[in-house]
């Protein structure tokens, strides 16, 4: 932005909208609910958590012993962190491409003139609005070893029943639960597909190109910002996967808490953080884990923008008037 303009911009320069000072005031006026709200409701708690990350607070005592960088040293050297982080990244590596490609393919199909497509669109979208609490529960029923539909289908093909909710198979179930929500991306893609100019698609066809060429040369560039936006969003939410992993775990019967029974394969990063907080009462350490994680998310997001962002077609911001 044009910081050099602060206070120097005369009315002559910005006649059309009044003074830029007035515009700046209006800008901050319009943003004030968000600025005040974010400062109090997000920045304060985040700052407080940052402070906690330098302490060894147990969550109940009044005293919060200052430990400097000890928590961070432990986060960066702990084998648990490394293991849960790698599981999380594996999840991202599976979920992000599958969701992006899957939702694009389905959106393209749903954009065709097919009978009942509104009906199909609705059915495919509904799982995306099912709250995570309910969706974890649904899949737990489906994948139950002794009475679940998954094993009953397996039995029809002569496959012996297996326990889906433990060991490495639990990770497969987690992937299924996350992919079930693919509909969220489909709606966004469908919306984007409707902005593709028909004339250009037809122009390609007139030039002798087939549907695939039209898709590659017209559709893909037009919807590329939407795909980038989704990639970033799905990456962020997948990294923060937590509720499904927690709720897919078997109900504890040993007097322990939910996190006691989470299979090791599903101990993704946020689960690890959660158990540091609420099983181990290590609020300082858990906070340090989260700070590190936040940085990981930022780095990944920037990386996506750097790697994918180049090939994205951008529209113009009307206020930027050539600057940006």
């Amino acid at each position: 932005m044009r910081l050099q303009r602060v206070g120097t911009a005369g009315p002559a320069k910005r006649r059309r909208y009044g003074s830029s000072k007035g515009e700046a005031l209006a800008f901050y006026g319009f943003l004030s609910p968000w600025i005040i709200g974010t400062a109090a409701l997000t920045l304060f708690p985040v700052g407080y958590a940052l402070y906690l990350s330098f302490t060894a607070w147990d969550g109940v005592s009044v005293f919060k012993p200052w430990v400097g960088l000890a928590n961070y040293r432990e986060v960066l050297t702990s084998s648990d962190t490394l293991s849960s982080l790698s599981k999380t990244l594996l999840l991202v590596a599976i979920i992000v491409p599958t969701t992006i490609v899957g939702s694009l393919v389905l959106a393209v199909l749903l954009n065709e003139r097919v009978r009942g497509r509104t009906f199909f669109r609705t059915l495919i979208y509904i799982p995306a609005i099912v709250p995570p609490v309910a969706s974890a529960l649904i899949w737990k029923v489906v994948f139950d070893q002794n009475s679940g539909a998954a094993n009953r289908v397996g039995a029809m093909f002569g496959v012996d029943a297996v326990n889906w909710l433990t060991g490495n198979r639990a990770f497969v179930v987690l992937v299924v639960v996350l992919l079930w929500g693919v509909g969220a991306g489909i709606i966004i893609n469908l919306a984007a597909l409707q902005t593709v100019p028909m004339e250009q698609l037809e122009a390609v066809k007139l030039d002798g190109g087939n549907a695939l060429t039209a898709f590659r040369h017209v559709t893909l560039p037009v919807i590329s910002p939407v795909l980038l936006f989704q990639t970033v969003l799905v990456t962020i939410t997948t990294l923060q996967t937590f509720v499904p992993a927690l709720l897919l775990s078997p109900i504890s019967t040993g007097g322990g808490d939910v996190y006691t029974n989470i299979p090791n394969a599903n101990r993704v990063y946020m689960v690890d953080v959660y158990s540091q907080f609420f099983a181990y009462s290590r609020y300082g350490y858990g906070s340090a884990m989260l700070t590190v994680f936040f940085l990981v998310i930022v780095v990944l997001t920037v990386l996506i923008f750097k790697l994918v962002g180049r090939s994205v077609f951008y529209a113009v911001d009307p206020t930027a008037s050539g600057k940006g």
């Binding site: 737990k140 326990n163 433990t166 078997p250 040993g254 808490d257 907080f277 181990y280």
Partner: protein, 451 residues
């Protein structure tokens, strides 16, 4: 800022025994120095905030209490460790908290977050100390040992949870002779019987012989205690899973998990023993006396074929602890401890308790209420006989520590156990791993306590 805050509050905190944090500054007192009991505060009218589990305190019970104690209104908050910690940190805790006495007493007492209730008990005409059954010793802490010293809470009702029940029809169908319900069988005998009771085909098990087993502190420590050993050290600062007794207990847990004769940490139950047992899919249920009331109310037809049995033994020492003795404690910063104690009296020893006990949903905390335990039906009579024979063997087994919540230890145990069994580790290697990891958790807690 932080320091002056800690100092200015120290006098207050010390009076209830908090040294966990302050010790790091002063290094003058040990964890949970002998505390002076809180002076009795007379009850005030107003709202009584109770943090309890879903469905436990019913709306009918709330109405009955509010009628008996006019001017008091109960506000329920669901049990949630995050919420509790947040409330404690904000200095505005609930007036009563539901917890498992066997698991939390050293932790909450040594941190000074729970009120020392000795003076309250001394003055109570309902919860007379002479009548309190020994199980409630698990709610006591003297700074070093659980089981002695000041009282921090009381059980609402309780059971000896290492005991078990079996389906006598399935038992005889498998060609097994019924064990004498009042004489404990060994864990090995139970395993052998379970193998005969289990029916499975094509990867699915239609009947499990054994009840659900978990590698939790309670279960392991209870097994080890019957062989005369212990897991936690005297000072509750370290754990040892490599003793011969512990190795035997771990071997059994690993063997039954591998043999798939019952649900376990590597083959978790879709729910709990109750529905599985009452659907005929489990031949045994690993529950204490309260299960009597559950069977009677949920599946009356099962009463005629359900038999209660003494806690199994690994060695020759008969010990039968409670895994919980769930009850209530009053936070030190409760705004209305007097009224909170009135609720405790009503719910754990008064009219509120009487109804639960009469329904067979657990044993009472107070000796005179033992007469309310139901003995009408054949089933109730038989269960009561077994329970009466088991009663003398109750004791507080050291599983809780001031340095970590039992949840923390159980989480570590479950993680290591599933990794080891799944990865084909030997029991000896598992024992080493558990000892190392649990001690790391304890060491971290000790460091925080300034020890």
């Amino acid at each position: 800022m932080q320091h002056s805050q800690a100092f200015s509050r120290r006098s207050v905190l010390k009076s209830v025994g908090l040294v966990a944090g302050a010790a790091a500054l002063s290094a003058c007192s040990g964890t949970g120095s002998s505390s002076t009991s809180a002076a009795v505060k007379s009850p005030k009218k107003g709202t009584l905030t109770i943090m309890s589990a879903q469905g436990e305190i019913t709306s009918a019970e709330i109405a009955a209490f509010e009628k008996a104690y006019p001017g008091l209104k109960i506000k329920l908050i669901l049990t949630d460790p995050t919420r509790l910690n947040a409330m404690l940190a904000a200095g505005d805790p609930p007036d009563l908290v539901r917890d498992a006495g066997t698991d939390v007493t050293p932790y909450i007492a040594s941190r000074g977050i729970a009120l020392d209730l000795d003076e309250y008990f001394a003055k109570s005409s309902v919860l007379k100390t002479a009548d309190i059954l020994p199980i409630n010793n698990c709610w006591r802490w003297d700074g070093k040992t659980q089981g002695k010293g000041a009282r921090y809470g009381i059980a609402k009702d309780w059971s000896q949870d290492a005991m078990w029940w079996y389906n006598s029809d399935l038992w005889s169908a498998a060609g097994l002779t019924a064990p004498d319900p009042t004489k404990p069988i060994t864990y090995d005998e139970l395993f052998e019987a379970s193998k005969k009771l289990t029916k499975s085909a094509h990867g699915k098990t239609s009947v499990y012989g054994l009840y659900t087993t978990t590698p939790g502190m309670d279960q392991i420590a209870a097994m080890v205690a019957t062989a005369g050993g212990r897991i936690m050290s005297e000072d509750l600062g370290t754990a040892d899973f490599t003793s011969p007794e512990a190795i035997r207990a771990l071997t059994w847990l690993v063997d039954v998990a591998k043999a798939k004769v019952g649900y376990s940490a590597v083959n978790p139950s879709p729910d709990w023993d109750g529905p599985e047992y009452l659907a005929g899919k489990q031949a045994t249920a690993g529950q204490g006396y309260w299960f009597n009331g559950f069977v009677a109310s949920t599946a009356p037809a099962y009463q005629s074929k359900t038999v209660f049995a003494a806690a199994p033994m690994l060695g020759s020492k008969r010990v039968s602890p409670s895994f919980g003795a769930v009850g209530y404690w009053i936070p030190a910063k409760s705004k209305n401890p007097g009224a909170a104690f009135e609720f405790m009296e009503w719910y754990c020893g008064g009219a509120g308790a009487a109804k639960r006990i009469a329904a067979g949903n657990g044993l009472p905390s107070m000796k005179p209420m033992l007469s309310l335990v139901p003995q009408k039906t054949e089933f109730q009579k038989a269960s009561f006989k077994v329970q009466t024979a088991e009663l003398p063997y109750v004791s507080v087994i050291p599983v809780a520590t001031p340095y970590a919540l039992t949840t923390a230890l159980n989480t570590t145990l479950a993680k290591d156990f599933t990794a080891a069994v799944g990865g084909g580790k030997s029991v000896a290697a598992l024992a080493d791993l558990l000892t190392k990891d649990v001690n790391a958790v304890l060491a971290n807690g000790k460091k925080l306590a300034g020890k």
